[in-house]
Subunit: 252 residues, 2 copies
DNA sequence: TTGCCGAATGTCAGTGGCTGACATAATCTT
DNA sequence: AAGATTATGTCAGCCACTGACATTCGGCAA
């Protein structure tokens, strides 16, 4: 499992042999400074502390959700694990769902960033396929924890898919991201997203394909590769089925 | 701030000149009996009463949500309007979102029913386009209330789209329906939905197209036709853009 | 009609998510 | 080292939602 850090000043030593209080979450950050500030390499103590408690909250919530289940975990429990007040929890996360979807949200932002970097000569669909493949590949080997994080992702998917409230929140987030994607695509091609239907349409279709892929991945753990490569292959397969699915009758 | 009416026994007379307390909601029903029972033409008093309170609750909630806003309307207010206890409300609807999405849910069921009726010789995409067109057309003229209900639908879309909680719940419902649609398609074509990716994929893409269409419809009230015909045309246009969007570069 | 059964409703108490207001303690600035 | 910011804790409160139990009402038959 996680790395057994000696748990610095702030964070309480909970989680017997489970996850360290200060686990470096996926892409972490999620603060405007982390992405926007240009030269500030060493953040102040204050910022670092905030970052730590945030990560600790995400981590504690994650383990609790997977053990006790989402519905049977209270905010008080999460807060108590990290040794902060309930009120503080709500200063970091707007609601219970947000802490559960934090990692997922970071991943989505990561994808958007990759999409923005794609060369202009690729067409929209190519750019998106390339961006998501790249994102998954990076997530696969850029992992400090080595393995484990991928299985963690799988568990998270399953948790989301089986928890109505979480699924709803996740879908909402996803469609929001579709809006962002649509705008990026429109910029790339230099057209007005208000007039042209294609950017939003393609973004939505892309979102649908990815979602179905995730679903396939999480439902059948058996047989196929469950690593990032397996996911990439699954997405590719679904994309390749897009044409046939839209074509005429399926009867062979 | 409540209603200054003397509040008669069962059904209170709210909605000054808006909607009658016992509005026959779209397809209404939502009880297994209404769709399953074959010969029971006249329902017992008990059933009719339940139906009435249910409709009244939906109606009261609808008007309150549109006036005060979703977040600023309490369940107690809704229940008080119909003159039932809060507990009774929760015996009809699992949660606050459900009462807001009740009409929408009925419409979705209606679409599924139409899809099931499509002749077998149509290919999947044709069947779905035909089914949704038919559904909207029926909804358009099969209306006792005459006009008004279409504008009501528009207001409802807007409410959903602008209320995070509602949007989340709606999206969850919609994806659930995609699962149903996928199964229907798989049955039509006689293939295994667990193996073949196409049914689920096409259902998801179809859902995406419809969602984008709804969004377009609700956002630009101006210019185009806002009636059911306008919606049908919008959906058609989006479908026609599907191919071009998936094709290569968009630069003209 | 009467009387019984089951279903619908009301009442009550309690849990948990979430928020505003204010006081306190920690960091940052000069 | 003092003052300005900012994070946190505490407290009180609203509201969505639930289980348990009492009551009333509609359906049905003797």
């Amino acid at each position: 499992m996680g790395s057994p850090h000696p748990a610095p000043a702030n964070a309480p030593a909970n989680a017997p042999a489970n996850a360290p209080v200060n686990a470096p979450a996926t892409v972490s950050a999620r603060t405007p400074s982390a992405a926007a500030d240009p030269g500030c390499r060493v953040l102040g103590l204050r910022e670092r502390k905030k970052q730590r408690t945030r990560d600790a909250l995400v981590d504690a919530a994650h383990t609790l959700f997977l053990n006790r289940g989402y519905g049977d975990t209270t905010i008080d429990e999460i807060a108590a694990t990290v040794d902060v007040s309930q009120r503080t929890f709500f200063r970091y996360f707007a609601n219970k769902e947000e802490v559960a979807l934090a990692v997922m949200a970071d991943a989505e932002d990561f994808f958007i960033a990759r999409l923005r970097e794609r060369p202009a000569e690729e067409n929209p669909l190519q750019a998106m396929r390339a961006a998501i493949t790249e994102a998954w590949r990076t997530l696969g080997d850029g992992r400090r924890t080595g393995a484990g994080s991928v299985t963690a992702a799988l568990e998270l998917f399953e948790l989301i898919e089986t928890t109505p409230t979480l699924l709803a929140a996740h879908l909402r987030r996803a469609t929001e991201q579709e809006g962002v994607v649509a705008r990026v695509l429109a910029d790339r091609e230099g057209l007005d997203p208000a007039t042209d239907l294609r950017p939003r349409l393609l973004a939505a279709v892309f979102g649908a394909v990815v979602r179905i892929s995730h679903l396939s991945w999480s439902t059948h753990t058996d047989g196929n590769d469950t690593g990032p490569d397996g996911m990439i292959e699954l997405i590719e397969r679904h994309f390749d089925q897009l044409g046939p699915a839209l074509a005429g009758s399926w009867r062979s």
